[in-house]
Amino acid sequence: MTQRDRVHVALVGTPNCGKTALFNALTGSRQKVANYPGVTVERKSGELRSASGRAIRLIDLPGTYSLRGRSPDEDVTREFVLGRMTGEAAPDLILCVVDATSMRLAIRLALELKRTGRPMLLVLNMIDIARRRGIAIDTDKLSAELGIPVVTSIAVRKGGTDELVARIDELAHRQDANAAVGDWQPPSAADLRAAQREADRIIRVAVTEPARPDTLTGRLDAVLLHPIAGIVILFVVLFLMFQAVFSGAQPVMELISGAFGRLGALSHAMLPAGLLRSFVENGVMAGVGGVLVFLPQILILFLFILLLEDLGYMARAAFLMDRIMGSAGLHGRAFIPLLSSFACAIPGIMATRVIDDPRHRLTTILVAPLMTCSARIPVYTLVISAFIPNTHLGGWISLQGLVMFGLYAVGIASALLVAFLSNYFVWREHPTPPFMLELPDYKLPRLRSIGLGLLARAQIFLKRAGTTIFAMMVLIWFLASFPRPPEGATDPSIGYSLAAMIGNVIHPLLAPIGFNWQISVALIPGMAAREVAVAALGTVYAIEGGKEAATEIGTMLATKWSLATALAFLAWYVFAPQCASTLAVIRRETGSWRWMAATFAYMLTLAYAAAFVTYHLARLLGAG
């Protein structure tokens, strides 16, 4: 190779063709996720080495039915394949991934890809499932009819991709000879019809389908897509998901907080009293530790989302929710981004790229931050466990869990309401765009894929805890510790600090909603990430109250706040636009400061109003 040391291979395929599983099988943990310059589409690439020692760089492109490109995601696939992507050369080889159990649309895509003139290799993935179902594919005939080499693979089995890698190696060897002049043009309806007929003809020639197709998916769907039972099951699944997040994570969380408690005690014993000890104990242990504790909950939530997606259930959920979401002016497809937003609004907002209509995409982006993201979990859990009694209603429904569920419900309801209002007032004139979605066959989730997905999420979270959250903790500790109190001062030293000064300046604004100056000051670093507010409260109260407060922020809060303040704080966090990264993603995705400012303003207004109403209502009811 002359200009490059590696062969660049692009993975292209229809949605649900098992492309990601194949990518994971080929590259394992040697993956890198980044963004394409200028767009927020994720660029997934990975490295592998063939038996002959050739270095191969694999790029996983967004799934698409056509190169026409109807969403930012699909545009990336076309631009990349055609070599028009800024900073990216055209791929040396296109791997067209085809689900061997469902070839019809994929073969049409392959015919379209052929017109780009790039060297191509067709991969019949999941060939094991196809054989088990009695689908016989004559790969030689298929290859001859298509005019491109064909190889089979089983992404989920060890050694299932050996032949594929060997063929990539072999084709890369003669890449120069393979390149042809492309004449791809956006196909018209007539072109598409003709291509689909040709694809159907090729399949008739090369593939023998069984008389009896797969019935498992049909039997499952008879229940899961039942108009009534289906919706009931969907809500049961969501309810179980939240129960698992809150009860399943408990033992691991206690383990983590116990470890931090011991580390805190250890540093207390080893370090001399003074600034360093205060920094380690109050800044690092109480702050960062207070946030790391929530890793298990976040991972359980992502585990459910990844499992449901791999199972093929997510598309069903979108089907079931389409009308319900439609009445709020949202697209059925918005269900998946909004569900992801329960984990974090950022991947949720990025997932709105699958909504091709710009207006519906914008509505979804605007309401996504109202879904209760996992960064709110620390805030909610802390306040709930400090103020809501740990009793069980009717013996098995935990009251704390119920309050948590209620907070989620308020988030969902307000998201639907905001979507409805913005649709009604802003975009009344525009008809709703079509909802069309493939419902893939159910597949057993691949543990390896899920493991890799969870690993990536854990890394992102730990990196955030190590960088953003840590930096904010240092800042808060500094503000709360300096300037030092004058000699002979009797009040807690924090009363003389910068934090107290700042808190007292903002406090008058927040006093009507029942917030004290400690909350006011904790809200500022909370802009970096919601859960930082918990850590900041931990640090502020730890410095104020001494060592015992550092380990038990919850108990501390219970003595310092009234119930009305606690409830107002919860109400504030349902709406508060307290996440700089989310705002930045909104700015990037909508390409406008205006929408970012609009989101910030409407959420802040709602937060203040909700906290105000909650605070005063609670006081009227005697919780002051």
């Binding site: 039915y65 056509s66 026409r68 109807r70 469902s102 019809r104 649309l105 049409r108 196909p187 018209s188 309806a189 598409l192 019809r193 689909q196 007929r197 159907d200 389908e209 197709p213 998916t217 049909g218 769907d221 897509l225 039942h226 108009p227 009534i228 919706i231 598309a315 979108a318 089907f319 079931l320 389409d322 009308r323 319900i324 009445s327 059925g332 209509d357 525009h430 008809p431 709703t432 765009p433 079509p434 909802f435 069309m436 979605l437 493939e438 419902l439 893939p440």
Partner: protein, 102 residues
């Protein structure tokens, strides 16, 4: 009114958007006309074809939603596609056998 200017259902086939759950048939034509979908008729037609709705393909309505029996899940040539009845109006079908969903 002259019958030739008002084509009957027999001429053009039944719009899939009006078919009941359990309907089994074959696609006669795919042609979007003033579909009010927020996209052009030509674009809707292309999207339907990209999902496999071409003339001659066999279709079956497998499921429908609870509200106004919408959206519908359609089995088309071995693939299941969810779509709303409004867009399914662009697909004209001919019944091949009588069956019911439930």
């Amino acid at each position: 009114m002259d019958m030739s200017s008002a084509p009957t259902e027999r001429d053009l086939g039944l719009p899939l958007g009006l078919a009941d759950c359990g309907f089994t048939g074959e696609i006669e034509s795919v042609r979007a006309e003033s579909c009010a979908s927020g996209i052009t008729d030509d674009e809707l037609e292309r999207r339907l074809i990209e999902l496999g709705f071409v003339e001659g393909a066999s279709v079956e309505i497998l499921h429908e939603g609870i509200f106004r029996r919408d959206p519908i899940a359609v089995r088309v040539h071995g693939l299941t596609i969810a779509l709303r009845r409004r867009e399914a109006m662009a697909i004209r079908v001919r019944r091949t056998s009588a069956q019911s969903c439930r």
